[in-house]
């Protein structure tokens, strides 16, 4: 045993190094992302909010969390971007106070919501509108008009050259080169693909005969690229390429105008917001359920119909007043002008319209304590 103690003495230096390391670790650090001390904030809310759901909202969620916690330093907001399906499931199982989802609840889930959240069920409302751009790279062509049928045929592989008659019909004034079209799509399962396909299914069903799915239909061929960045990279590197991606990621590339009704609409946040306002609410839902059937085939002037709309799901009632206050404050911030602007700056989303915001705020106000 004595031998051990002698040996322990040799260990003393390394133990000391460990101890010093531990002390340094705990002494310095823990500052905020910018190194400034948290400003505190005036509210006396205290606690943790947990959300699970769509990864499409992640960038916006980062921005909302940052601004919200700077105003309410007592609140921690956690968001786990596990996916829309996982988010709805975990929320309905009571494992999270709110969920983010790219799709609204289906009828079975509404019923499950009544069990999880009390008689009024779960509330849902759109918080994040992200336009999807049809982006192209053709030398000498800066503007391009495309009708849904043409887009469908291009991505399906039926139109293979930029001087095709169908494209010329959409762009009578443009000089289109004799150049092969490279249609770039997402290689991975994604909400962007799903919304893009949903739009084509609704507006050009004759040409787009594949099922709507997060995976791009394999039989249509074309060039596959991994992730949003991969699509943008491939389109910028290839002369004659066309692809679809979140508008926030497009950067310097040109985007096509899309035919709505009789006119061609340019992508803009306002135009994306408009399509949500032109959409009908899903029938047979409670007042707090602001789920929309997106009017992809709208003819509303100035609306841009290729959008991804992501919802927040909250309960109509929570067990204690503290949670109710926190959820109310949080969701109100998310839909507020400030919150929407913050998401637009950081994540490139389109802000909600004032009209829709008013409806959502009414829903949020009706959240109450159980019983």
């Amino acid at each position: 045993m004595k031998g051990i103690f002698v040996k322990m003495k040799h260990l003393a230096p390394s133990a000391a190094i460990l101890a010093v390391g531990a002390i340094t670790l705990s002494a310095c650090g823990g500052q905020s992302a910018t190194g400034e001390e948290a400003s505190g904030g005036s509210s006396d809310l205290q606690g943790t909010l947990t959300g699970i759901g769509a990864s499409s909202q992640k960038a916006a969620m980062d921005a909302w969390t940052a601004d919200f916690t700077s105003q309410n330093s007592g609140v921690t907001v956690n968001y786990s971007p596990d996916g829309s399906g996982a988010g709805r499931e975990q929320f309905l199982a009571g494992n999270a106070q709110f969920a983010g989802s790219d799709a609204h609840l289906d009828d079975d889930e509404v019923k499950a919501g009544e069990e999880a959240c009390g008689a009024d069920g779960a509330y849902e409302f759109p918080v994040y509108i992200s336009p999807i751009a049809v982006t192209f790279n053709v030398k000498g062509v800066d503007e391009l008009n495309l009708s849904p049928e043409t887009i469908a045929k291009i991505f399906k592989g039926d139109i293979t050259n930029w001087n095709d008659k169908a494209i010329k019909a959409d762009n009578p004034d443009a000089e289109l080169p004799d150049l092969k079209i490279t249609a770039v799509h997402r290689a991975d399962d994604s909400g962007t693909t799903e919304n893009f396909a949903e739009y084509l299914k609704a507006t050009a069903e004759k040409d787009w005969d594949a099922e709507v799915d997060g995976n791009f239909p394999k039989e249509y061929g074309g060039e596959a690229a991994q992730g949003t960045d991969g699509v943008i990279q491939t389109v910028s590197d290839t002369d004659g390429a066309i692809g679809y991606a979140d508008a926030s990621a497009v950067g310097e590339l040109s985007t096509a105008k899309v035919k709505v009704g009789d006119e061609f609409v340019e992508l803009s946040p306002e135009a994306a917001t408009k399509v949500v306002d032109a959409s009908e609410k899903v029938e047979g839902r409670s007042e707090g359920d602001l789920a929309f059937d997106l009017a992809r085939d709208t003819t509303e002037s100035g609306a841009y119909p290729i959008v991804l709309v992501s919802y927040h799901l909250v309960c109509s009632s929570y067990k204690d007043q503290e949670t109710v206050d926190m959820v109310k404050a949080w969701e109100k911030f998310v839909v507020s002008e400030e919150g929407q602007k913050s998401a637009a700056d950081s994540a490139g989303s389109a802000p909600l319209s004032d009209d829709l915001r008013k409806q959502i705020e009414e829903v949020i106000d009706s959240i109450k304590v159980e019983g």
């Binding site: 045993m1 031998g3 051990i4 040996k7 040799h10 260990l11 390394s14 531990a22 670790l25 310095c28 650090g29 823990g30 500052q31 905020s32 992302a33 910018t34 190194g35 948290a38 943790t48 947990t50 990864s55 992640k58 960038a59 980062d62 921005a63 969390t65 940052a66 601004d67 916690t69 700077s70 921690t76 956690n78 968001y79 786990s80 971007p81 975990q90 199982a93 009571g94 494992n95 999270a96 106070q97 949003t228 960045d229 943008i232 979140d246 926030s248 990621a249 497009v250 950067g251 067990k319 913050s342 700056d345 950081s346 994540a347 490139g348």
Partner: protein, 382 residues
């Protein structure tokens, strides 16, 4: 007459053959360098440029052939075969080192360029895309950091050690000193073998399912509170225990039976023999085994994601709230950047810096294991 002459000549020259005709020691190296140069030349001519993989493969092939040819022409077939075996073994060793070196190089060059004191001491509290866009546009320094992830890694790994080291070491002691290969001992060995093969995500799901069930029983409808650092530590110990058991068992079996017998002969009871003779003799091996187990679990991503979530802020409490570790931080930053599009570069830089810290942490642990083993090793001839 002539026939007799040749036989005597042959008999005389035979012993001389044993020592003659050997290539100088430097020859294999000269041949290797020459074949690399030839490979570069071929690559430049035939493949239109310098291409590292092509050069490496070509150099390996040319080297093997050249070594054989040179040796066969000078030393004879037997030695040539021996040389080619040596060459192949050495080439495969170099090949095995390639991924390691390229990984280290990539981590050090990318992480080293991004790392800064700010990244080490800041958290992601208040982090948003605008800050990254400013950084990429060159208007601000890189914001954010992973101090919270370093703290999380250290705390979760420590907790996993506290759980799994006593269980693992005591199990190994039972297996070696008490079981005498009885049924229970065999069953434990079998189960430990099975546990070694558990995929890490399954360990994570097990721990989460266990704790959310407990949470649901204690506080109905609040299963969400099961996502804590402690749950992650339990998941990691499921992965750690079999490694600790295996390593400790091997080391304990190395302790000479004579030592135990000498102790028993002096009338020392069994438990005292184990505590004062067996464990001190093997302590260095046990500790280095434990360190290997730590290095194995410290880089786990999947079980942490399921059990501890993705925290953006500092959390010192293992038993409440989400925690981030370096692996989950890297995964999250790379896959879901704070700002999509061009500014995702900033998230990527933070991820590389975190990867560098993680690799350094694992290396320091391995080094520590070596030092501990050396310091505590029993001195020879005692």
């Amino acid at each position: 007459m002539t026939t007799m002459n040749t036989t005597t000549e042959a008999a005389v020259s035979k012993p001389a053959k044993l020592t003659s005709k050997q290539l100088p020691k430097a020859t294999p190296w000269i041949v290797a360098v020459a074949s690399i140069i030839v490979a570069i030349v071929i690559s430049l001519i035939a493949f239109g440029g310098f291409n590292i993989p092509v050069v490496a493969v070509l150099a390996g092939l040319i080297n093997a052939i050249a070594v054989f040819a040179v040796s066969a022409s000078y030393e004879g077939r037997r030695k040539a075969v021996d040389r080619i075996a040596t060459t192949i073994v050495t080439s495969t060793f170099v090949l095995a080192c390639v991924p390691l070196i390229s990984l280290l190089w990539l981590t050090v060059s990318k992480g080293g360029a991004a790392i800064s004191g700010d990244l080490l001491t800041r958290t992601m509290l208040g982090m948003k895309g605008v800050l990254d866009q400013q950084y990429v546009a060159g208007e601000a320094t890189l914001a954010g950091g992973f101090y919270h992830a370093i703290v999380g890694t250290v705390l979760i790994t420590l907790a996993a050690c506290v759980i799994s080291i006593p269980i693992g070491v005591l199990t190994a002691i039972y297996l070696v000193e008490y079981s005498n290969k009885n049924r229970l001992g065999k069953a434990i060995t079998f189960l430990v073998d099975v546990m070694t093969g558990i995929p890490s995500i399954v360990a994570g799901l097990f721990a989460f399912a266990l704790f959310s069930t407990i949470a649901n029983v204690l506080l109905p409808g609040a299963a969400g509170i099961a996502k804590t650092g402690f749950t992650a530590a339990v998941a990691l110990s499921v992965l750690m225990i079999p490694i600790v058991v295996r390593n400790t068992e091997e080391i304990l079996r190395l302790v000479p039976m004579d030592l135990r017998e000498a102790s028993y002969a002096l009338g020392v009871p069994k438990w005292k023999t184990i505590v004062k003779i067996v464990l001190p003799t093997s302590v260095s091996g046990i500790l280095s085994g434990v360190t290997i187990a730590i290095a194995r679990v410290i880089g786990e991503t999947a079980p942490i994601m399921v059990t501890a979530g993705f925290a953006k802020t500092l959390n010192w409490n293992l038993f409440s709230g989400w925690m981030s570790t370096l692996p989950t931080f890297i995964y999250d930053s790379q896959l879901r950047p704070v700002s999509p599009g061009a500014a995702a570069l900033a998230s990527s830089e933070r991820a590389w810096a975190a990867a560098l810290v993680l690799v350094a942490l694992v290396m320091v642990l391995n080094l520590l294991a070596r030092i501990i083993a050396k310091v505590l090793a029993p001195k020879a001839g005692r």
